[in-house]
């Protein structure tokens, strides 16, 4: 019996019960004692000593902090004045050294290149031979370069025109100043217009007189260059640039109101769109026919005549229109933020 009892007593359950019955008060007393016991106070003298030590330590800390701050300030001041100068001088030296090194290596390469004007240069290979010997009979263009960029490599030229159009669109997005929804001008537009009135010539007699004489001639010359793109040096890109030069001359002489009568944002959009669309469709047709061996039905004409060489002249016109519109809208956007 006693053994059984002791077994039972050692079990955790029994211990808890025992603690609950007997030990609860004892534990409580202990806790109360712990909470209410007053800690012995140190003597007064010791307290003062500690306070002194603490004060000294804090002074030391402040001194180091001030020194650190001074160091930091010195470093920043150095960086702001002499350090910046030193770094920028180092940068200049480094940049010049890099450029000189690049020029040196490129000159080494140039020394190994084929001689200037050498007929046996590897650039004059089978590709250019084909363009020169077969270009006239395959494209009908007397100007071999025009035949190359608008027939053999027409896809490349479509990409170029698209790059120009996208550049014009990007500049339009960046610089265009829109009107309010009710059509009244925003503050920015008023400021841009007053700037334009202030800095650009208005009714300048000399400019208007020379523009009156020169603009038609320049436009005619540009049209000539575009239409003769397959017969003589020139083509859509150069002719379009010349036409846009004439338009810009007209705009700077007579102002936006008169130029706006024949060239607006809508003109830009539709001319560019139709030119690129025509180009893409025409070349798609001719590539499709060529790839499948179908005769395209586009007459090549007699080489040297103005109406010859198939699609090259219309394509030149399309490219020229895109280029002229792009250049003109560049000028208008940079000058006033819109047409």
């Amino acid at each position: 019996m006693s053994k059984r009892r002791s077994d039972w007593e050692s079990r955790p359950q029994a211990r808890i019960r025992k603690w609950y019955r007997e030990g609860f008060l004892a534990l409580d007393n202990e806790i109360i004692d712990h909470l209410t016991r007053t800690t012995p106070q140190p003597p007064y003298t010791e307290d003062r000593l500690v306070a002194q030590q603490e004060e000294m330590a804090s002074r030391q800390h402040e001194r180091t902090l001030a020194l650190e701050r001074l160091d930091q300030h010195n470093v920043l001041a150095w960086a702001r004045t002499r350090g910046r100068k030193a770094i920028s001088r180092f940068y200049v030296v480094l940049a010049l050294a890099l450029s000189a090194l690049m020029i040196f290596f490129l000159l080494e390469t140039v020394a190994l290149m084929p001689r200037f004007g050498d007929p046996a240069t590897p650039g004059a290979n089978i590709v250019s031979e084909r363009y020169i010997t077969k270009g006239l009979e395959e494209t009908g263009a007397v100007n071999i370069v025009a035949g190359m960029i608008l027939d053999y490599r027409a896809f490349d030229t479509l990409g170029e025109s698209t790059v120009l159009f996208i550049a014009a669109s990007a500049v339009l997005i960046l610089l265009r100043i829109d009107r309010n929804k009710d059509g009244s001008p925003v503050q920015e537009l008023i400021a841009a217009e007053s700037d334009d009135r202030h800095y650009e010539p208005r009714n300048d007699r000399i400019l208007q007189g020379s523009a009156m004489i020169l603009t038609p001639i320049i436009l005619l010359y540009g049209i000539y260059i575009i239409l003769n793109g397959h017969l003589s040096p020139g083509g859509g890109f150069s002719g379009g640039a010349i036409i846009s030069a004439g338009l810009i001359l007209y705009l700077s002489a007579f102002g936006f109101e008169k130029a706006g009568r024949f060239f607006t944002n809508k003109t830009f959009t539709w001319v560019s769109f139709f030119s690129l669309m025509f180009y893409a469709l025409a070349k798609a047709y001719s590539f499709y026919c060529g790839a499948n061996g179908i005769p395209s039905g586009i007459p090549l004409g007699t080489p040297g005549a103005i109406l010859s060489s198939g699609l090259i002249m219309p394509l030149n016109i399309a490219v020229g229109m895109v280029v002229a519109c792009t250049m003109y809208i560049f000028y208008a956007l940079f000058r006033k933020g819109g047409l």
């Binding site: 690049m102 020029i103 490129l106 001689r115 200037f116 240069t121 250019s128 020169i132």
Partner: protein, 124 residues
């Protein structure tokens, strides 16, 4: 090497021009001057390509009197490449100038370091 460089004078000049444009791009802080440097680099490339296509004693590739033989005309391919280069150069010059105008309107400076500092101040 000097002899070889003198024989290839056009390409030598083109390469030096390229280096000058590159150093302008690195050294100048003004954005407009940086764009000018890039355009000088472009010009160097055009000169290089045009000089690569030239052959002594041969003419521009425009057929005269129906003669189509490789000994009569220079290489037409570099001319097309230069054309592509000019178009791309015009496009990116336009876009970069437009971006420069926008930056100037916002920060009232063309110095790229100042613009970077101001932009950092805006972020903070």
């Amino acid at each position: 090497m000097w002899q070889l460089l003198y024989e290839n004078l056009e390409q030598t000049v083109a390469v030096i021009l390229f280096g000058i444009g590159f150093s302008i791009l690195l050294l100048q802080r003004n954005l407009i001057r940086k764009i000018i440097g890039l355009n000088i680099m472009d010009t160097a490339i055009y000169l290089f390509l045009a000089s690569m296509g030239y052959i002594h004693g041969q003419k521009a590739p425009i057929v005269v009197d129906g003669i189509t033989s490789t000994v009569a005309y220079i290489n037409p391919v570099p001319a097309g490449l230069v054309l592509t280069g000019i178009v791309v150069s015009v496009s990116f010059t336009g876009i970069m100038l437009a971006l420069t105008i926008r930056l100037y309107r916002r920060y009232h400076t063309l110095d790229i370091d100042e613009i970077a500092l101001l932009a950092r101040g805006e972020d903070a």
